[in-house]
Every structure is written in C-alpha cells, then in structure tokens.
Amino acid sequence: MILFQNVTKIYDNKITALKDATFHIEKGEFVFIVGPSGAGKSTITKLMTHEELPDSGCIRVGQFDLCKMPKKQVPNLRRSIGIVFQDFRLLSNKTVYENVSFAMEVTGTNRRVIRRRVPDVLSMVGLSSKAKSYPDQLSGGEQQRVGIARALANTPHIVIADEPTGNLDNSTAWEIMSILDHINKQGTTVVMVTHAQNIVDEMQKRVIAIEKGIVMSDQQGGYCYV
C-alpha cells in the first residue's frame, strides 16, 4: 500500500529531513510514526501526499509511483488519501455539513452522491446532530471529528493523521483514537504521526520511530523511543 524505498529528502536550507528511509505499510495496517520534533515525521506525510518530492529513493502510495507520476495525477493521489490535521483546518464560515460536503464538491462529486455520503460520515464520527452547527460552536474534540469526517468523505484507502490529538485533552484524544481505530477496522489503512506516548503504548500497534531523519526502529508494540 505505502512503500518508502531508500528515501532521502534534503531541504533547500541543506537540512536532511529524511535519510535513506525504507519501510512498507500493508493495506489495512494501523501504523504510528513517532519521534521528537524536527525528526522528519512531517516530511514523511508531505512526501506521501506529493507536497514534497524526495531527492533520492522511490515512494509508492497505492497505485501511484510518486517519483514517476505526471503532475496531473496528483489530485487523484490526494483523493485516495484522507488527511487529518492537528489544527483541524475547518472553514469557520461553513457549517459542519458544509465543511464535509466542501471536500466532495471541490473534487467534482455529484450532488446526489454528496447528499447521501455526508450524513453517513457524520454519523460515523457521531456528529449527526451537529450538522448545522458552525465550528466555533463545537468543542475541540468535536471539531477534530469534523476533520475526520471530511477526511473520510471521498472514501480514501488511506487516512494520514498528523498529530490529530495534539491540541486535545486526554479523554477527548481517546474519543478520536477510538474513531480512527474503528475506521481502520473497516479496512482503511491509518498512518498516525504522534508525540502521545500513552496512546501509542495503549494501542499496541506497529510503531516506526524516526530520529534525525533516520528510521531508528520499526516494530509492533509501544512507544519504544524516548
């Protein structure tokens, strides 16, 4: 599903964000990517979504070979990935419903499909009753659930969550984790970048630890990196 093969990324300011990283994530897996700030975690998500290109090595995501694919394929790649952000990134002038339907409208989805799909994903994250609310009327946890609903709207094969619990308190964080776990159990591959040691320890999933751009460990279990 996701393959990084000897991937190196050096930014213009000569900082090596990722060095010879190799890992393979299978379809349906739930993987944590952990490491200290500036370790290269965000670079991994940016490489997966073609926001950045590697300097060497190759990356495959689903059917896409990111190093060889033409630029016009990028939107198709991104439609196959749902992204959840730490800061939610909701549009404050749109309702919960509209925030989710927006993601479908802008990818040219038929209105009938949108009308069926949006209530489905809102009920999946438990926000059916808040469809008409605006983001600033919601708690942080609810806002992040809207973010997840939006990421799921276009039925992606992969969900990338970049510190999804970073701005939330502990109990709310667990609500989010149970939603992500549920999504994963339904067959979606989930890649979650996080700092939250307690969550990683508790979930007992595969953990890829990165430091200074190097993959330090890749194993099942807890937060092995301190």
Binding site: R78, R79, I83, R89, T107, N110, R111, R150, N154
Partner: protein, 293 residues
C-alpha cells in the same frame, strides 16, 4: 461538469462582492484604458473615412490668365490634357465663377454691378485619378502657357489627417499605459481574493481538487471585472460619439463622420474582447504566482 461551472461562477461573484473596493478600482482603471482605446478607434476609423471622402471631393483649380478671352481660354484645355494623372477637366466661364460666388453669399446685392464688367478669371476644375499626384500636377499646370495660378487644397486634407492620426496615436499610447496599470491592479485584486481564501485553497489541495478547479473562480473573477469594465466604458463612448455626431452635423458639414450604427457593434466587440483579455491576464498572473504547486 455543470456542478463545477456553477461552483466557479458563484465563487467568482462571491469574491467580487467580498472585495468591492478593489474591484471598483480595477474596473475604473480598466475603464480609463478602454475609453482611450475607444478614442483611438474612433479617430482611426474616422481618419480613413474622412480622407476617402475628401479624396473623392478633391479638386485642383487652374486659373487662366486675366487678359485671355473665352476662345483663348478654351484653347488651353488640350495642353492641360497632356498632363498625366488627370481624371476630369471642367471649364468654368467668368459668369459661372460669378454665379457660384453669388450662391456662396446668398445672391447678395454686393455683386450686382459685376455682371457687365466681370473681373473674375476663366478657370478649370480638375480632378485627379490619384490624390498623391496633386503636387506634381500642380507644378506642371503652372508651366502650361495661359495658366496664371493654381489652387491646391491638399493642405487642408493634410491638416485634418495629421491631426486625427496624432490624436489617434496619443490615445493609443495612453490606452497601452492604462492597460498595463489595469493588469497590475486586477492582478492585485485577485491576489487579495486568493489571500482571503488561503485556507480554503489549502483544504482544496489536500482533498485533491484539481488546479483548474482551484484557479477557475479567480480567473472568472478577472473575466467579470473585464466584462463590467467593458460594458461601463462602452456606454459613455456610445453616447459621447452620438453627441459629437449631432453637434457636428448641426454646425459643420464639410465632411461626415462614420455613422454610429456602423461603428457601435464593432466597438462593443473590441471593448468586450480587450476587457476580458486584460481581466483574465491580470488574474492568470496572480493565480500562476500564488498557486504554483
């Protein structure tokens, strides 16, 4: 497809309303540009129209020496005919000359005593096949034995054509300057629209909206600005030209201007085309710069 077009257009109008002041400034600059373009076109079109009228009306007058009698004056004609480039020759007697003088002054009594002792000259009215030969023909006429004087009216024509062409060129240069300013201001207007929608654009990119989908509303916004600018400058140009035409035909009448109906459709078309071109150019410049990835 239909959904997308509806989305682009509604977003574009939304941007226009959200950004009223900048849109107003953009449209005003564009109007300056198009009004000058209109002036240049009106001058250019009329320049050709008027000179073709004057060319067809253009005549040289060759006056026969005062001491020649009618027979002698008529005898000059074959000599004139030998000159190249002459289309028609019309002989006018002293009496003809006096009649036309009387006509010009509404049969005023001032000329009543002149019938018996006519001081005017016999003359030839000469038209040319090509107005460019006027100078040469004039010189050759002067050499013809029996001709005392030649009157050549090309200087008036030259005056009118040089005035209209200078006026046309000045407005054309002004138009180019304002077109440049308009593109710059429109691109800034679109830049503001892009900035105020940065977050939406970010989300659109992350969920896989195509670049065209993201760009289109902003390009359409530029087109709307261009369209409004074109329509708003066409209105004063149309009525202004109509007013000039009325004033001209009331007071003068040496020559006619191009009729309004002949020029208005073309002018509207040129305005719309240039307005939309300038508007979309401005927005494409911004969009290219700010939505590169």
């Amino acid at each position: 497809m239909f959904n997308s077009v509806r989305y682009y257009t509604s977003q574009a109008f939304h941007n226009v309303f959200r950004n009223k002041l900048m849109v107003f400034i953009s449209i005003s600059t564009l109007m300056f540009c198009l009004l000058l373009l209109g002036l240049a076109i009106v001058f250019g079109v009329n320049l050709r129209y008027i000179s073709s009228q004057l060319e067809s009306q253009f005549e040289l007058y060759a006056f026969v020496k005062l001491d020649y009698n009618e027979q002698q004056a008529i005898a000059v004609e074959p000599k004139i005919r030998q000159i190249d480039g002459i289309q028609t020759i019309k002989f006018a007697t002293k009496e003809d000359a006096l009649d036309s003088l009387k006509d010009m002054y509404d049969n005023s009594d001032a000329f009543s005593g002149l019938d018996e002792d006519n001081p005017l000259q016999y003359s030839y009215k000469i038209t040319l096949t090509n107005i460019r030969d006027a100078g040469r023909v004039e010189q050759e006429l002067k050499k013809v034995d029996g001709i005392s004087d030649v009157v050549n009216r090309t200087d008036i024509l030259n005056g009118i054509t040089s005035f209209t062409s200078i006026a046309g060129n000045v407005s054309l240069i002004g138009m180019l300057v304002f077109a440049f300013i308009a593109v710059f201001i429109i691109s800034n207007t679109i830049k503001l629209a892009l900035m105020s929608r940065r977050r939406e654009i970010e989300i659109m990119k992350s969920v896989g909206a195509t670049n065209w989908f993201i760009r289109s509303p902003f390009i359409i916004e530029g087109v709307i600005v261009g369209f409004l600018g074109a329509v708003l400058s066409f209105i004063p140009t149309y009525f202004g030209y109509r007013a000039v035409l009325n004033w001209w035909t009331n007071f003068f009448g040496i020559f006619r201007f191009v009729p309004l109906s002949d020029i208005s459709t073309g002018l509207l078309f040129v305005f719309l085309a240039s307005g939309i071109l300038i508007g979309s150019l401005g927005s494409v410049m911004s969009v290219r710069k700010y939505l590169r990835t």
